[in-house]
């Protein structure tokens, strides 16, 4: 499903060029649960952004569902992010003025899903992540764990092919961190494909495949 071949990413910040990825090869199949670990600054987030079509690699080939990403324009990439990819971030990235319901609804709005279907989907997905009674709450009225559940619901609502989570438990206490991990596991068991960056040492216990990145390269 995801095929990365010799992916390089260079950030040019005026004076110095930072080579964040130095030739990454990675293969992710449908139904995989992959954890990405590695020290800070090793290029994990950069890899995630490229896989999520938020950023383009400087060199290398990236195939998503057999499609070559290099040749897509900005609109096509936006659609891909909207329909094929679900993002979960460490700092939740919810819209502060919108309720849980509205946050989850947003990808459906961008996809142009009609009113009735939208309502059904948002409500069922919020129920699934255990927030049926928190739909009208704004992010600042929710705990960290609840916020991350909203973010996960938002990532799931358009039935994406893959869920990309960048340190989803990094800002959570250990209890809610464990709950979120369990939620991911149950999603995986349902058949979702998940790539997760984490510092959680127990991650190995949950997932089948662990990828370690050091200094822009995958350790094998």
């Amino acid at each position: 499903m995801i095929k990365l071949e010799n992916i390089r990413k260079v950030y040019s910040t005026g004076k110095v060029d930072v080579e964040a990825l130095r030739g990454v090869n990675l293969h992710i199949k449908k139904g995989d649960f992959v954890t990405v670990i590695g020290p800070s600054g090793s290029g994990k987030s950069t890899l995630m952004h490229i896989m999520g079509c938020l950023d383009k690699p400087t060199a290398g080939r990236y195939q998503l569902n057999g499609q070559n990403i290099q040749h897509l324009n900005d609109n096509q990439l936006s659609e891909l992010r909207n329909r094929e990819i679900g993002f979960v971030f460490q700092n939740f990235n919810l819209l502060p003025y919108a309720s849980a319901y509205e946050n989850v609804e947003m990808p459906l709005l961008f996809a142009g899903v009609g009113g009735k279907k939208r309502k059904e989907k948002v409500e069922s997905i919020l129920k699934k992540v255990g927030l049926a009674d928190r739909m009208d709450h704004r992010p600042n009225e929710l705990s960290g764990g609840q916020k991350q559940r909203v973010a996960i619901a938002r990532a799931l609502v358009n039935d994406p092919n893959i869920i990309l989570a960048d340190e989803p438990t990094g800002n959570l206490d250990s209890t809610s961190g464990r709950e979120i991990m369990e939620l991911f596991v149950s999603l995986w068991e349902e058949g979702h494909t998940i790539v997760m960056i984490t510092h959680d040492p127990r991650a190995k216990d949950y997932t089948e495949k662990v990828v370690t990145i050091i200094d822009g390269l995958i350790e094998s």
Binding site: S78, L109, F110
Partner: protein, 430 residues
């Protein structure tokens, strides 16, 4: 087509979202909306009062006459074929006929006699006023001598049969007859009985000779000659409805009368023209200029207000960089982000415009409803001229257009910047 509709629906859904987001910025939005409202108010009031002013000025000029030239005889100032200078030029009714027959561009023409201090009597009431004899029924339209309901102006037969009928101004009617119905009443002019056939409708009159028309009595020229035993006209009045031809007609009049009266056609003192048409044209031009001037001032006010909107939008874009990043990450296209900011700017501009237009409309209606007594010449004419703003479609449409353009511009550039936000940078933006 279906795709288009789907796109539109999507945009409507998103608009709902945008309005929700706008509420976050209430205070700033209030200020910008107020700015736009003020700009709109200014432009509409300026244009409406300007247009009202123009209409009233033109109406006032019409009080004197409708597309007319008033012609006076003067004195020759150039020797001509052995004839000395300093000869007076005088008019008779035959001159009126001559002009009428030789210049087809003249639509109406009348000779006019004036008597000062005719004695009007009705019952015990005695009033000293002017009396005019007129030689044509066209005078009614030329000099705006329109009758009030139930009456009429002098007609062909009155002139032909030297009828003793009189058409009186509303002021004279009030002084002489009071509040009674005047039509058919017998009044005496210099002790000769006349029947009142009509009373003049009130009108605003800004130009005049002798005095305002409201105090005059008008009788057939044929009757006049008998009573006052005079056959020298005080003036000739002619009407040229194709106003672009008026200059040409004046030249023709000069030529025809020069031959008849034996004076040099280049003698500028032989005839005096009071060209009301020219005044009207000049007034029109002046007001077109004033309208453009006022419009530009109004537009400037609006543009300045819209710079305020654009500025706020820029700040908003910066403040919402992170939100833009989030939206882009979950699938918003650049166009969606752009449309959002344009819609926001348009909403601000249009609601400001609507508020401003409503207030302007209210002010105009209020001013219009200030009661104005009659249309007498005098102290309240200034009031009449100033206090008759017109809220016209022209004003509304030009304001709306300016507002729309200004709104789009104030939204477009911030929107462009918003769409250019890089999602990854934005997600890490604090």
């Amino acid at each position: 087509m279906a795709k288009k509709i789907n796109e539109l629906m999507k945009n409507l859904l998103l608009t709902r979202l945008f309005i929700r987001e706008l509420k976050k910025e209430r205070r700033k939005i209030f200020l910008t909306v107020a700015g736009i409202a003020w700009g709109t108010l200014t432009i509409i009031l300026l244009l409406s009062f300007g247009q009202g002013l123009a209409t009233q000025m033109l109406r006032g000029q019409k009080g004197l006459g409708n597309n007319i030239v008033i012609l006076y005889g003067g004195q020759t100032s150039i020797e001509y074929r052995g004839l000395p200078q300093g000869r007076p030029v005088q008019f008779f009714e035959e001159d009126v006929e001559l002009l009428e027959n030789s210049i087809p561009e003249i639509d109406n023409i009348a000779g006019e006699y004036d008597a000062w201090g005719a004695v009007y009597k009705y019952g015990d009431k005695v009033v000293n006023e002017r009396c005019r004899g007129v030689s044509s029924v066209g005078y009614e339209d030329m000099r705006s001598h329109f009758p009030q309901a139930g009456g009429r102006f002098i007609n062909e037969n009155d002139i032909k049969y030297r009828r003793r009928v009189v058409f009186i101004g509303w002021g004279l009617k009030k002084d002489l007859i009071g509040d009674e119905d005047a039509i058919g009443k017998m009044v005496f002019i210099n002790n000769i009985p006349f029947t009142v056939i009509g009373v003049m409708q009130k009108k605003m009159q800004m130009g005049m000779y002798g005095g305002p028309d409201e105090n005059v009595g008008v009788i057939p020229s044929s009757t006049y000659k008998g009573i006052f035993s005079r056959n020298r006209l005080s003036r000739i009045i002619y009407q040229v409805n194709d106003i672009d031809k008026s200059e040409f007609v004046n030249q023709q009049v000069q030529r025809v009368l020069a031959r008849k009266k034996q004076f040099d056609p280049d003698d500028n003192n032989a005839l005096h023209y009071w060209d009301v048409i020219k005044n009207t044209k000049m007034t029109r031009q002046a007001f077109t200029g004033i309208t453009i001037f006022l419009g530009v001032i109004g537009a400037m006010t609006l543009i300045i207000a819209s710079v305020g909107v654009a500025n706020i939008m820029y700040v908003t874009v910066k403040k919402r960089t992170r939100e833009i990043g989030i939206k882009r990450a979950i699938g918003a296209k650049k166009a969606t982000i752009k449309i959002q900011f344009i819609i926001e700017a348009l909403l601000i501009n249009l609601s400001g415009g609507f508020i401003g237009a409503s207030i302007a409309y209210g002010i105009i209606k209020a001013v219009q409803s200030i009661p104005q007594e009659g249309a007498d010449f005098g102290k309240n004419m200034a009031m009449q001229i100033l206090a008759n703003p017109e809220f016209s479609w022209t004003v509304a449409i030009s304001t709306g257009t300016i507002l729309g353009i200004v709104g789009l511009l104030s939204g477009y550039f911030p929107a462009k910047r918003a769409a250019a936000v890089d999602p990854i940078t934005a997600l890490h933006y604090e």
